[in-house]
Point group: C2
Chain length 273, copies 2
């Protein structure tokens, strides 16, 4: 999916919501365990209930990988079930030397047809650029993450007072364009978004950490939104595990709707039509 298609989707759905498909066999409603593929059935019902409210789905690859071959099958079926006009993110945090990153890119872009993959920047340019060589596909590079450990190294200042995540933004933005790169910035670090926008005014940001991790949409929009919206705000557990009964998908829809309505107001106030 290209940038224009993504922006058009945001404008027509009045939403910049991404839903994290972190399907965990230990957490999904127990009545689903009777299905042949409980994980896929869970995702299918979540997608049916929320597809008009969000613009992206983000399966967390670890949850599927931890189930072995059956997990990869559930993932493939889920991906095939997501409507083609919705952006898909393989949240895989991959990254290795060039020939190996190229293999990961082929795994997610060719074998599975994801629109994007999250990529860790520690190994530098040749770990990221292989993901940029596929038409209408995206690398979403970790900049400032929402977890506690995100503070261990990402905010270390260099001799000029520049923090590591700022160096990552400044260096890596030269490897691609705002048509094939996005960045991960945690919602729990919303106050940093204005600084980040000075370095990358146009790139889309994938913002996890809303809901269960404590961030909120207003702050993210206040500091991080640009003229094209430029945001994909993710919620996972707050939506998909809103209910644990047979009505779990309905409950998920209610939570997704709350976020979508909040986003519709924000988009209107920002004059994004």
């Amino acid at each position: 999916m290209n940038r224009e298609e993504l922006i058009n989707q945001i404008k027509s759905k009045r939403s910049f919501l991404c839903i994290g498909l972190d399907a965990d066999i230990k957490k999904i409603p127990t009545h689903l365990l009777e299905f042949e593929d409980p994980i896929f059935e869970f995702n299918k019902q979540i997608i049916d209930a929320t597809k008009d409210l969000c613009v992206a789905y983000k399966p967390n690859i670890a949850f599927y990988e931890s189930m072995g071959v059956s997990g990869w099958n559930s993932l493939q079926k889920t991906l095939d079930y997501i409507p083609k006009d919705i952006f898909t993110i393989a949240d895989a945090k991959r990254g290795d030397i060039g020939n190996t990153s190229n293999m990961y890119a082929r795994a997610f872009f060719e074998n599975m047809n994801f629109d994007s993959v999250t990529v860790a920047p520690y190994m530098g340019s040749d770990s990221v650029t292989p993901f940029l060589e596929f038409k209408d596909k995206w690398a979403i590079v970790l900049a400032l993450t929402s977890n506690k450990g995100g503070l261990d190294f990402q905010k270390t200042e260099d001799k000029n007072g520049k923090q590591l995540f700022e160096q990552v933004l400044e260096t890596s933005k030269q490897w691609g364009t705002d048509e094939n790169m996005m960045y991960v910035v945690g919602a729990t670090r919303a106050e940093q978004l204005s600084e980040i926008r000075e370095i990358i005014p146009n790139h889309f940001l994938l913002v996890p950490g809303v809901g269960a991790q404590g961030g909120n949409v207003q702050d993210v929009a206040k500091y991080g939104m640009n003229a094209d919206c430029g945001l994909l705000v993710n919620s996972s557990r707050g939506i998909i595990y809103a209910g644990i009964g047979t009505d779990f998908a309905e409950k998920a829809k209610v939570e997704a709707q709350k976020l979508q309505q909040e986003m519709a107001v924000i988009l209107a106030e920002a004059g994004i039509k």
Copy 2:
């Protein structure tokens, strides 16, 4: 596998060689394509030919993941085929927020029974510590990598002149012990190994980059060896693709033998018996 067992293996085999199983369907000898599972057949013959010469095997997970479900099956069969007294490394470069890293740890340690996984440190403590909670399993954390992009961020100096990889070593060594953590240090950066040994005198180092990437065993041993050896030196392409005919495994054995003999001399000179 615990540290003592690994050291005993090094002493008895007179080797600290790790062989990278980067099996690529486009590079393996074409006569193998007639087998039901060419990737497994390739690995099986490589293992048969080299298992007395190396102490560890390191499948590069990207190569299997890029083949989808059939790749994961080949990987599982390969892992089951490796003799139980040889150390196994899932070269996966994983790392995410705590609950997600836990899923990756379960994938590699429980579902697949690897001894260790390589982990990227960018997301900090909670991205690494879930890998440390399994008995006799190891996290191998990226410190200074052998690729060109390794220079983009890893050698950035902070206000006190400390480079990022040094910060990673100093901070992360507090998360675990030399019984459950190792570090990746590229052979192409051998001159840095003495500095690294000042920070982590006892930890094992996984050293890729010998052979195809240009590093050499003597330099690695000179600057990086400790009283327990403390090194796993990896060669992938230089061994497994030494030949492309029906005698590929024999050619691989010759290359592995050259490195093993070099290592035997080094171990003897260092008085490691």
